[in-house]
Each structure stands twice: as C-alpha cells, then as structure tokens.
C-alpha cells in the first residue's frame, strides 16, 4: 500500500535544492577569486585558503577558539552538577521545561537583557558596591568577560540537555554496587559516574563549542573592539568587505573543523561501546 509518492520527493527536493546545493556553492565559491563587479569570478585559486594561514587570521582564530573554550569550560562546570541535581529531582519535568524555554526563544533578546546588568552603572556593579566588595564600579560591558558571560548564558541549555539525557539513562544502582565493593567517593565518581556520563559531556561540549565561535551578534552587542570571533570575521567578509571567496573559505574551514570534531566524537563513542 503506497501513500502518494510525491510526499517524500517534495522534502527531498527542498532539502537538496535549498540545503545541499547552497552548501556546495560555498565550497565552490571558496576557490574563486574576488571580483568587484560580480562578487566572484572564475580563475580558480587556493589563495583564499593560503590567506587563512596569515598571522592576522591565526590571531582571530586562536582568540575565537580561546573564548569558545572558556565558554565551554564554564558551561560544563555549571551544567554538570546542575544536570545531576536535575536528574535526581522530583520535579524533573517542570524544571526541564524551564531549561528548554530559553532554547527556543530569541537569544538576541536574552543577550540584550544582559546589558542592563553588566553596564557601568548596571545592577551587578550596584550590588557589588553596596556589598562593599569593590570601591568603584568595574567596567564589565564591552570586554571579553561580557562576551563569555553572554555566550555561557545563551548556550547553557545546550550543555545541560545532553548531559541530563545521559545521566537520566545512567543506572544509579551501579553506584550502590561500587559502594558495596568498597569504592570510596572519589573512585565512585572518577571510575563509575564520570566514564558513564562522558558521552553526554562530549556532545554537550560540541554543542557549545561550535556555536560559541559563530554567534556573531553576541560580541557585536556585548564585546569591545578586540572581541572578534570567527563568526564576526565571516560576517565582515561577506557584508562589509564584500570578499565572498574569502568568507566562503573561512566558512568551509569552520565546517571542516566541525565535521572533524564530530568524526572524532563518533570514533570515540564507538571506542566506548566496544
């Protein structure tokens, strides 16, 4: 018995035409030359990729990577105990919805809402002054600190969800068993709990690390002149400098990096299972 066959061809056509082909065009464009009239022109070249090994790009790339790594570490440190408590909580479903809501709502607006807290005469400074922890207000906004805060704030749910899912599937009787066999607290954590939740940790880190390099509006809103991420660079190359081939090459490198990490993750995941 068959449903009308075009029902699946349509989604295929759509995803292929507007998803797959555009992504191929990025790869093609990355090998073309910049042209002032048509944006890109024919002579094929590797120079866009060679350019990416210049010191300027390397600097942006490493700064971006460091900011993304710090964001990931902060998210992980906050989210790991949080997910544990969540998985153990009686009101799991309500608490989970409260974590998912920010995931679907505008991250631009949530980034904007941080300004009132971080700015020079903002709430955080007022609280710190009132508590006599500082003598004069700190300039927090337009620094890398603000960018990392913004990124952690926006990407936190992406870290919680995979770790939580993993912990929920964890059989807590294993901890009892380890206790019975005489393991101490540290051994239970490092040799039983942590290895069993490492899958969630790795997927969470991937889900935070990669967007952290591309969310260009967070540095634009919260960061200073020095907080340029890979995402800002691609955005500039396309819309300000109009150097599309260069922007395309940067996007390709970003995607390759992502696929590489995913491949390593799958490889690692298989290693755990066997």
């Amino acid at each position: 018995m068959k449903i009308k066959p075009f029902s699946i061809h349509f989604i295929f056509a759509w995803v292929f035409l507007f998803g797959f082909i555009p992504l191929c065009l990025v790869v093609i464009a990355s090998f073309l030359t910049k042209d002032h009239v048509n944006l890109v022109s024919l002579p094929l070249t590797f120079s866009n990729y060679k350019e990416l090994f210049s010191p300027l790009f390397a600097k942006v790339f490493f700064r971006s990577l460091i900011i993304a790594l710090m964001t990931t570490v902060c998210c992980l440190l906050l989210a790991y105990p949080f997910s544990y408590l969540l998985a153990k909580s009686k009101h799991k479903s309500v608490l989970l919805v409260l974590i998912i809501i920010p995931f679907w709502t505008s991250s631009l607006i949530r980034t904007y809402s941080l300004i009132a807290i971080l700015k020079f005469n903002g709430i955080l400074n007022v609280i710190l002054l009132k508590a006599h922890l500082i003598n004069q207000p700190l300039s927090l906004l337009y620094t890398n600190f603000a960018v990392i805060t913004g990124l952690v704030y926006n990407l936190f749910p992406f870290m919680v969800l995979p770790i939580f899912t993993n912990m929920e599937r964890f059989d807590f009787r294993l901890i009892e068993a380890a206790k019975d066999l005489g393991a101490n607290k540290w051994a239970i954590f490092f040799r039983v709990f942590l290895p069993n939740t490492s899958g969630g940790i790795i997927s969470g880190c991937l889900l935070v690390l990669l967007p952290a390099m591309t969310l260009f509006y967070i540095p634009n809103v919260l960061g200073g002149a020095r907080s340029v991420l890979l995402g800002n660079m691609i955005q500039n190359q396309f819309l300000v400098l109009e150097n599309w081939p260069q922007g395309a090459a940067t996007s390709v490198i970003l995607t390759v990096l992502l696929l590489l990490l995913l491949f390593l993750y799958r490889h690692h995941g298989k290693g755990v299972i066997h």
Partner: protein, 260 residues
C-alpha cells in the same frame, strides 16, 4: 540528620541559583520596560507608557506584521512538507529514509552562519532577489529538520496497522489519513508548527544574510536597535517579543507531553 538537611538545602539552592541566573536578566528587562523613567535604575512606579510609544511606531508595526506573515507562511510550508514526509516514512519502508535523515542532520549540525552564507550565495547565483521569498525559503529550510524530529518522535508511538485496518475496513486512503492518522498526530503537528513559528520569529543569524532592504522583519529591526543602545522602548519591544515566543513554546511543549 542535620548534615543531610544541610546537603539537601545546598542542592536546592544551587538549582535555584541557576534558574535565577537564567531568568533574572529577562525579569529585569520586563521590569525596566514598565518603569516610569527613561534613564534611572531606580523604580519610579509602574507605567505602560513605553508600550504606548511602541504602539505609534509605524516602522515597527510593519516589521512586526512582516515577521508574523513570514513566520506563518514558513511554518505552514515546513509543517506540511515535514508531515507528509513523516507519514510517508511511517507507512512505507523507504530506502530513502537514511539519506533523508543524513541531509536533515547535516542541516542541523551546520552552523546557522554557514547556512546563511550558503543561501546568500545561492540566491545570488540564481538571481533570486533578497526579500520575502528569499527569507521564506531560508526559514522553511532551517525549520524542516525540527518539524521532522518533532513529528517523527510522536509518530513512532503509533501503530501503522491502525491505518491499514482502516483501509481493510473500506476507508479510502484519504479518509484513513484524515480521519484516523491525522487526529492522532495533530498535537505533534501543532507543536511543530508553533516551534517553527518561534524559530522563524526569533531568527537573527540566517535572516541577517538573506533579508533585503525592502522587507524589514522584527528580529533584524531589534538587532539594529540593540546595537544602537538601551532604551525603555526597546525594553518594551523585547519584553513583548520574548513573552510571545515563551507562550508559544509552553503551548507547544504541553501539546507534545499530553499526547505522549
């Protein structure tokens, strides 16, 4: 007993602290949007006047209507396309399942930025003018994977034989679909629709690349205002937008949970 109570208190306060940190900035935003003062941090009493000023801003209204129109169209198309595909895959063992899911997975893991750039190049190559249609295509493209995921997770709780028994009992295919399968699926469909709408309504990154000058949409208008700085009117605008998407997300979530 005492250290145990202390421990549970510490656990609860950690959970509470994280939730406070997550929702405090939004709460502050909403409070300032009804504060009767332009520059002050102090509370000057409740006033809806910033909302009133938004009401008279015609550029904002047009961006709002554009966004709603775009969101509705994009969610209708992507929900319809996704639903047809899910039903097809559910009733037929298709060899295309794997390749379809691979492509959808690719769309999910590719950073939004790269998809935005890719579509910008695509529209330029095929001479599609940037405006309503470019945005519509982009929004449908990034929503489709979420529709398929939402509906697919629901459809697997059903038994395909329900549909085939309806056929055996003499129902036409059309009837078996519309009277048997769809009524069981509609919470998931509605939920997918609402999630698409919020995704489209809030998207900045992809829209930033594929929007044209003649068709302004709300998230991009907000973005340009945000870069200019904090104003009470913007607080009001952001509060409304946030509340709209939050309500839609909660409804969508309740729908899928009830049925499962």
């Amino acid at each position: 007993m005492k250290p145990l109570a202390l421990k549970s208190l510490a656990k609860k306060s950690y959970l509470g602290l994280i939730y406070c940190l997550l929702y405090f900035p939004i709460l502050v935003l909403i409070l300032y949007s009804v504060n009767n003062a332009r520059f002050s941090l102090q509370w000057h009493g409740f006033s809806p006047r910033w909302y009133g000023e938004l009401f008279h801003d015609r550029a904002l209204w047009s961006a709002f209507f554009h966004s709603v129109m775009l969101g509705l169209n994009a969610s209708i198309i992507s929900t319809a396309v996704g639903l047809l595909a899910c039903v097809h895959l559910f009733l037929n063992r298709s060899y295309k399942r794997r390749s379809l899911f691979a492509m959808l997975l690719l769309l999910i893991i590719i950073p939004d930025l790269v998809l935005g750039v890719a579509l910008l190049i695509f529209f330029n190559v095929f001479l599609i003018p940037l405006g309503f249609f470019s945005l519509l295509i982009a929004h449908v493209t990034f929503s489709i994977p979420f529709v398929v995921l939402t509906i697919n997770s629901q459809i697997h709780t059903l038994d395909p034989n329900i549909y085939f028994s309806a056929l055996d009992l003499g129902a036409s295919r059309h009837k078996a679909l519309s009277k048997i399968l769809l009524p069981m699926l509609w919470p998931a469909v509605l939920s997918a629709f609402l999630l698409c709408f919020t995704l489209s309504f809030d998207d900045v990154i992809i829209s930033y690349f594929v929007a044209g000058p003649d068709f302004s949409i709300l998230p991009l208008t907000i973005y340009s205002l945000v870069k200019a700085g904090v104003t009470p009117e913007l607080n009001a605008l952001c509060s409304i937008t946030f509340l709209i998407s939050m309500i839609l997300v909660i409804i969508a979530h309740r729908l899928t949970r009830k049925s499962s």
